[in-house]
Structures are given as structure tokens and as C-alpha cells.
């Protein structure tokens, strides 16, 4: 696709993106909710989105499915008050809907598999109903314009402008970074185009390519994105990305996963942890005598004190001599 067409498409998408953005007031409400309320909190939403990502990755769905699912979820949550216990159902139904749209028929996993793997508490019929509700409320059409759309477009534009630098901007990496950002609800408030552009810029700065940055500036001017807005979101994106890229591991425990094992395995799991019946026999420091007559001299006093420490075992007039002989034997 030549540059002109790409730019035109960019423009078209830019105009449409407003339709697909979640309500900001709704998002703010979620962010301000504290834990333990009857409403969904930011932490709850973020945790659910991470779960969605696990499921996406597990079933081999594309990033597009994931981004679309998150978009649906955010739009729904911003619009309708959902109880925390229903959040799981809502998120999985968003994922299923997104998968139906994006993935090929053969790659689609059935709903019950989704529920089983995700260790969800609801049934398939619940899922179907929820899907219908979400579809109605959002007036769901096949595709939404998301940050990923823009990311793809930007990437193509960048490619078309600099053909010899194909390897430097990795689309996978950008997608992964976008995924990391989407796991935090604050980024859903951003305009998809701006978010994608800030990600692009960050990557270009990391690669330290002046040409690339010019292309980015070009795009910015084309879409008439203000500097202030871009700067705002760039500043927020940067720490998120550095967290993501850090080698430090976060402890995975916000939800205990169920480990179901078969009966036979469960029976044998802790069979080794039996307490031994026989009392411990402590080793003396010198009971390794090769010849019995050595023992005879010194043993008489040591008989009764079998459980005592090393010192008392070696009582008797021959102690130093015995040790010397012992050392010689073992030398």
C-alpha cells in the first residue's frame, strides 16, 4: 500500500475512533472505587484483563482478539454498573465475542472449553446470555477501531518510508507493549491513536533512529494531534513499559488457581512424609574401629552413654593413644 493510501486510511480511522471509545466518566468512576465495594475497582478490572490475556495466549488467539475484547469490556463497564461477581462472566463473553469476529472458524475454541480452562463458575448458557446483553448494549458491530488498528497502520507507514530498515521496528514487540499497557485501566482513557503513537515514539527513541522520529512527527501533524496530549501520554506510557521490560518478577498470586489432580496421584502425593518409627542412632566419633580389640580397651566406659555427645564416648585412660591410633588407621 502506498503512503498516500495509508495516510488516507489513517484519517478515516481517526475520525471513527470516537465511536469506539469507552465513556471517560465511567472509567473514572471505576478508578476511584476502592476495593471491597459493591462496584468493580480498577484492580479488579486489571486482574481480569490479565486473565483474559492468559486465555488469549493459551488458546493461541491473536492480539487483535485480545485488544478487541478489552475494548468491549471497557466500553461495557464504563456504561453499566456491574457487580464484581459478574465481572468474570462479562470478560469471558467479551473474549468469546471478539474471538468469533477475529479468529477463523477452525481456530475457535468452544465456549465450554473456555469456561473449563478459565476455571469459571458460570455455565455456557450464562455465557450466551451475557454475550447477547453485551452485544445489545454496545450496539456491537463487527469491528472496532482500536489502538492496534493504528499501530498496524503506523508500522506499515514506517515500513513504506524506510525500506532498508525493516528489522528495526518489530511489530510483535509493539503489540506486546500495547498489551502491557492495556492491562492498566488508565490507558483506556487515552485516544487509541495517541496511545499507539506514543508507543511508536518510545520504541523509535529506544532504537535511536532520527528518520523514524521524523515519520512519527509527520503522522502527528497529519492527524493534528497536539504536542501536549502526546507528551502527556508518553510520560505515562514510559514507566509502564519499563516495568514490563524489567527482569524483576512479580509474584503471581492474586488468584489462587485450582489444581485438580486424579485420585491416584493425589493418594501418592505425600506418602513419603511418614515419620520413621525407628529412633535415630547417633554416630560416635570413633566407632569406626576396624579391629575389635581397640574397642575393648576403651569401650567399657562408653557403653552407657550411647546417646551422649562425642566427648563422653571417649572416656578412659587410653583416649589420646586411641585417637592417635585411630587417625593412623584412617590416614
Amino acid at each position: 500500500m502506498d503512503a498516500y493510501k495509508l495516510m488516507k486510511e489513517l484519517r478515516v480511522n481517526y475520525e471513527q475512533e470516537a465511536h469506539y471509545r469507552p465513556k471517560e466518566t465511567g472509567l473514572r468512576l471505576i478508578e476511584s472505587t476502592t476495593e471491597g465495594d459493591s462496584r468493580i475497582s480498577a484492580k479488579g478490572r486489571n486482574a481480569k484483563v490479565e486473565d483474559l490475556w492468559s486465555l488469549t495466549s493459551f488458546f493461541g488467539y491473536s492480539t487483535q482478539t485480545f485488544v478487541l475484547a478489552v475494548n468491549l469490556l471497557d466500553r461495557f463497564l464504563a456504561m453499566i454498573k456491574v457487580q464484581p461477581k459478574h465481572l468474570s462472566c462479562v470478560s469471558v463473553s467479551c473474549l468469546h465475542m471478539a474471538a468469533k469476529v477475529t479468529e477463523e472458524e477452525c481456530d475457535l475454541s468452544p465456549a465450554d472449553e473456555l469456561i473449563r480452562i478459565g476455571q469459571c463458575r458460570f455455565t455456557t448458557s450464562d455465557l450466551c446470555r451475557m454475550e447477547k446483553i453485551v452485544g445489545e448494549k454496545l450496539g456491537f458491530k463487527s469491528n472496532a477501531v482500536t489502538a492496534l488498528t493504528f499501530l498496524h497502520l503506523y508500522h506499515q507507514i514506517a515500513l513504506s518510508h524506510s525500506t532498508d530498515r525493516k528489522e528495526s521496528l518489530s511489530l510483535e514487540k509493539l503489540e506486546a507493549q500495547l498489551k502491557a499497557c492495556l492491562c492498566r485501566i488508565s490507558f483506556s482513557k487515552a485516544k487509541p491513536s495517541v496511545l499507539a503513537l506514543s508507543l511508536l515514539r518510545q520504541e523509535m527513541e529506544a532504537v535511536q533512529s532520527e528518520d523514524m522520529l521524523e515519520i512519527a512527527y509527520h503522522i502527528q501533524r497529519h492527524l493534528k494531534i497536539t504536542d501536549g496530549e502526546l507528551l502527556l501520554w508518553s510520560e505515562r506510557v514510559a514507566p509502564c513499559l519499563s516495568d514490563y521490560a524489567s527482569p524483576e518478577c512479580s509474584k503471581p498470586n492474586h488468584r489462587k488457581l485450582q489444581w485438580i489432580v486424579s485420585r491416584r496421584t493425589a493418594q501418592n502425593l505425600h506418602s513419603y512424609r511418614t515419620v520413621p518409627e525407628l529412633p535415630t542412632i547417633p554416630e560416635g566419633c570413633w566407632d569406626e574401629s576396624e579391629s575389635e580389640d581397640l574397642c575393648e580397651d576403651v569401650m567399657s566406659s562408653g557403653e552407657e552413654s550411647l546417646s551422649s555427645s562425642l566427648g563422653s564416648d571417649a572416656e578412659g585412660p587410653f583416649f589420646p593413644l586411641h585417637l592417635r591410633r585411630q587417625k593412623h588407621l584412617h590416614a
Binding site: A176, T274, E290
Partner: protein, 555 residues
């Protein structure tokens, strides 16, 4: 005249010409519940002039069987004050010829068990005193100074061994021996000051005679220790008591190893060890206790015992693969290993590497695996630097065809990982997780399940987290593949748990690996497609060629 109250007695007495002139003043309060069956034939010609003042308070419970033949000519003058609290079981056979002139003032408080063959000079009184029955807790009939002698005699008697294969022979003698052995056991348990120097050789001789024997060959070659019932020892009624006796003898407070070691020597121990091959698990259990006590008390025999056990194991592993007592010996070794002094001697480390680890290769591992695993873990708790050789050894002997063994190995490995030090973990993590990754993708669902369950172990998880950059690339490919391909849905669910854990541990690396995996798969698919197209082209070419009119295939 009978002043007894509440006395139930079946008494058949024939008294002939009993002339009794008795003047008795008796105040007897006897509460006796006696169930006595006495058949007495008494021909008594009694001229009794009894002046009795008896104050008896007896509480007796008697079960007596007396057969008495009394010919009494009694002239009795009795003054008895008896207070007897007795519970006796008397079997008395009294043949009494009484010519009694008795003046008895008896105040008896007796507690005795009498198994008496008594020749009694009985006082026949018209006023019969309650039959006293007494329970004896101490050997009553034999006075204390004579007891050691009796002990030796009984020991010697028990040296005779009876043939239990013939169930009907010598029943009485067998019973006698059994009761004697019982007596010996009780004697050894409660007595004080009974162990003389002469006793030791007799004890050892008696025990040796009874237990050292050639073990019968196993009934069938195909004896599967897990499936079949073991052949139990026929002479167990005697054997058990002999073992019981020997153990109490060894544990007795008066036992002196310095004297005993002359008789419990290397030859004794060697024969004892051979007995561990017995098929009877009860016997092996007793032997285990016996050997454990001997190891504890005889310091001079310890090295010898360890060496012999080594030999047994090595023979078992490399020559015969048949020995029934491996589990018991390992239990003893467990308690020995637990008591090792630090730093560990080289001999013990050798033992670990050359004997304990090869023991894992045996086919019948399931019989003693729990004890073996315990020994290994004890070793590692004593000296963590042994972790690397142990795990490398296990990986070397990892079962390739026996899945049941594989599950056992995985269990043992988890036990080891539970106590491993982080520095040691880093040394062996690569080969270890390569093996785990193979186990996880095993088509045998139990193996896969057991391996995946490691991720439920908190300590192992913390170790994996610290080293996720090394471990994740090793595990990723197989985990991802089986999430798509494994036949067992439960396994797929567990794999999700593991992948999720990895995802949260190190997202960057995980995403990188996912991307690489996907691109690899794409490349593979592409290659396959190209290959297919090539074949198709070749086919078309061949078809075209074949369609030439003259049918000749051009070269």
C-alpha cells in the same frame, strides 16, 4: 454346719461315719463366690474336738477344681484369724492323709499364684474356711535365689526346635514350649538382678537355635511381592516369642554389651542379616528391631554391619534382584543416616553414590521406594553439597519405559527439591528441567500430572521465579505444544495454570518466547506447504509424461 454365705458349690461328698463333736464359736463373715467343682471321696473317721474361734473376712473368687481323696483322722484345735484377699486359680490335686493336730493361728494376707502340686496335710475342719485363691505376680513357687538357675534351665529347654510343617505332631510339647517362652518373656520384662554372666551364652544359644535356619525357597519364581500373599512362617507361634524375648533382653536395663559382645559377634550378625530374606513380613519387622538395637549397642559391630548391608544391596542390584528385606534394612539405615556426625565421612558419601543411587534401577522399586527416598533426603539434609551428584544420578537412571517408576522418581525429586538450597538448585536446574519438560509432555497422564503438580509447590515456585530466565525457555516449547495437543483435558487445564504462572512471573520473556514459537510454527507450516506443492508438481509431471502416446517414458 456350714456358715458360709453365698457360697455356690457343687459338692459331692460322701462322708462315712463322721463323728464330730465340735464346739465352735465362730464369727465368720465370708463373702465368697466360689465356683468349685469338687469331687471328693472322703472316708473320714473323725474325732474332732474343735474349739475354734475364727474371725474370717474373706473375699474370694475361686475357681477350683479339686479332686480330693481324703482319709482323715482329725483332732483339731484351731484358732484362726485369717484375712485373706485372694484371687486364685488353683488346680490342686490333693491326696491328703491327714493326721492333724493343728493349732493354727494364721493371719494370712497372701497374694500368690499357685500352680501347685500340693501334697497337703490338710486340716479337716468342720468349719471350712474359704478357699483362698491368690494371684501371684511374682513367681511364687520358686524362691528368689533359685530363679536364675531355673531361668537357665528353661532356656536350655527351649533350644529344642519343633517341626511345624507337621501340624499334628508333638502338640503337647509345642504348647509347653510356647508357655515356657511366654514365661521367659514375662520374666525378662519384670525381673531385676537376673542376668548373670552365665545367662548370656545360654540366651544367645537359645535364640540362635530357634531363629537361624535355612529359609525355605520361595514357592514360585513369579512371586510378585505386590500382588501375591507372602508365605508366612509356620513356626511363627514360637518364633515370635523368641524374637520378643530377644528384643526385651537387648533392651533390658541390666543388659551389658561388654559381656554380650563375646557371644553376639560378627558370625551372629551375619546369620541375622541372612534372615532378612524371609518372606514373612512380621519376622522381618522383628529382625529390623533386633538389628537396630544391636547396631545401637555394639559400637564395635557397626562398621561390619554397614559393610555387610552394602554387600547385600550390591548383590541385590547387580546380581540377583531378589531380596525381601530391602525396605527394613533401609529403614534401619535411615535412622543411622539421621545420626551421622558432620562432616560426613567419605565412606558414607561413597555409600550414597555407589549403593543408594543404583538401588533406584531395580525393577521392584515400589516395595521400598518410600524408605529409599527418606534415606536420600536425610543425606541431603546432612550435606547439601551432595545434591548435584544425587540429582545427576537420578537423571541418569531416569526410567524410560516404566511409567509407574517415573511417577515415583518425580515424587522423590519433589521431596529433594523441598529441601534443596538455592545455590545447589542453580547448578542442576538445566538438566533437571529438561527432564521435567519431557515428563510434562509424556502421553502417560499420571506422569504429566505429577510433573505439572510441581508448580503447586510454593518453595519450588519461588526457586523457579528466581531463575525464570533460564527455566522458562526450557519448559516453554513443550508446555505450549501440549496445551494444544494433549489428549487428556485435565492435563490441559493444569498446563494453563503453569503457563499463567510463567506469564505473571516474567511477561517480557514469555511474550518473546510466544512470538518465537509462533514464527517457528509458521515457518514449519510454510515448509510443509512447499513440500506438498513440490510433490504435487512431481505428480503432475509424472502424469504428463505418462500421457505420451507411444507410452515410452523418456529418460
Amino acid at each position: 454346719p456350714n456358715n458360709k454365705i453365698n457360697n455356690k458349690q457343687i459338692n459331692l461328698t460322701f462322708n462315712f461315719c463322721t463323728i464330730l463333736i465340735s464346739l465352735s464359736l465362730s464369727l465368720s463373715l465370708s463373702l465368697s463366690l466360689s465356683i468349685s467343682l469338687s469331687v471328693s471321696l472322703s472316708l473320714s473317721v473323725s474325732l474332732s474336738l474343735s474349739l475354734s474361734l475364727s474371725l474370717s473376712l474373706s473375699l474370694s473368687l475361686s475357681i477350683s477344681l479339686s479332686v480330693s481323696l481324703s482319709l482323715s483322722l482329725s483332732l483339731s484345735l484351731s484358732l484362726s484369724l485369717s484375712l485373706c484377699l485372694s484371687l486364685s486359680l488353683s488346680l490342686s490335686l490333693s491326696v491328703s492323709l491327714s493326721l492333724s493336730l493343728s493349732v493354727s493361728v494364721s493371719v494370712s494376707l497372701s497374694l500368690s499364684l499357685s500352680l501347685s502340686l500340693s501334697l497337703s496335710l490338710s486340716l479337716s475342719l468342720s468349719l471350712s474356711l474359704s478357699l483362698s485363691v491368690c494371684v501371684c505376680f511374682v513367681h511364687p513357687d520358686v524362691p528368689a535365689p533359685e530363679q536364675p538357675e531355673l531361668f537357665l534351665k528353661k532356656l536350655q529347654q527351649c533350644c529344642t526346635v519343633f517341626d511345624f510343617m507337621d501340624t499334628l505332631s508333638d502338640l503337647k510339647m509345642k504348647e509347653y514350649k510356647r508357655s515356657t517362652l511366654n514365661e521367659l518373656v514375662d520374666y525378662v520384662t519384670v525381673s531385676r538382678g537376673y542376668l548373670t554372666e552365665q545367662a548370656y551364652p545360654e540366651v544367645v544359644k537359645m535364640v540362635s537355635h530357634n531363629i537361624f535356619r535355612t529359609l525355605p525357597p520361595s514357592d514360585s519364581n513369579e512371586f510378585d511381592p505386590e500382588e501375591d500373599e507372602p508365605t508366612l512362617e509356620a513356626s511363627w507361634p514360637h518364633l515370635q516369642l523368641v524374637y520378643e524375648f530377644f528384643i526385651r533382653f537387648l533392651e533390658s536395663q541390666e543388659f551389658q554389651p561388654s559381656i554380650a559382645k563375646k557371644y553376639i559377634d560378627q558370625k551372629f550378625v551375619l546369620q541375622l542379616l541372612e534372615l532378612f530374606d524371609s518372606e514373612d513380613p512380621r519376622e522381618r519387622d522383628y529382625l529390623k528391631t533386633v538389628l537396630h538395637r544391636i547396631y545401637g549397642k555394639f559400637l564395635g559391630l557397626r562398621a561390619f554391619i554397614r559393610k555387610q548391608i552394602n554387600n547385600i544391596f550390591l548383590r541385590f542390584v547387580y546380581e540377583t534382584e531378589h531380596f525381601n528385606g530391602v525396605a527394613e534394612l533401609l529403614e534401619i539405615l535411615g535412622s543411622i543416616i539421621n545420626g551421622f556426625a558432620l562432616p560426613l565421612k567419605a565412606e558414607h558419601k561413597q555409600f550414597l553414590v555407589k549403593v543408594l543411587i543404583p538401588l533406584h534401577t531395580v525393577r521392584s522399586l515400589s516395595l521400598f521406594h518410600a524408605q529409599l527416598a527418606y534415606c536420600i533426603v536425610q543425606f541431603l539434609e546432612k550435606d547439601p553439597t551432595l545434591t548435584e551428584p544425587v540429582i545427576r544420578g537420578l537423571l541418569k537412571f531416569w526410567p524410560k519405559t516404566c511409567s509407574q517408576k517415573e511417577v515415583m522418581f518425580l515424587g522423590e525429586l519433589e521431596e529433594i527439591l523441598d529441601v534443596i538450597e538455592p545455590t545447589q538448585f542453580v547448578k542442576i536446574q538445566e538438566p533437571l528441567f529438561k527432564q521435567i519438560s519431557r515428563c510434562v509432555s509424556s502421553p502417560h497422564f499420571q506422569v504429566a500430572e505429577r510433573a505439572l503438580y510441581y508448580w503447586n509447590n510454593e518453595y519450588i515456585m519461588s526457586l523457579i521465579e528466581e531463575n525464570s530466565s533460564v527455566i522458562l525457555p526450557i519448559m516453554f516449547a513443550s508446555l505450549y505444544r501440549i496445551s494444544k495437543e494433549h489428549w487428556n483435558p485435565a492435563i490441559v487445564a493444569l498446563v494453563y495454570n503453569v503457563l499463567k504462572a510463567f506469564m505473571e512471573m516474567n511477561s517480557t520473556l514469555f511474550d518473546e518466547l510466544t512470538a518465537t514459537y509462533k514464527s517457528d510454527r509458521q515457518r514449519e507450516k510454510k515448509k510443509e506447504k512447499e513440500r506438498e506443492e513440490l510433490w504435487k508438481k512431481l505428480e503432475d509431471l509424472e502424469l504428463k509424461r505418462g500421457l505420451r502416446s507411444d507410452g515410452i517414458i523418456p529418460t
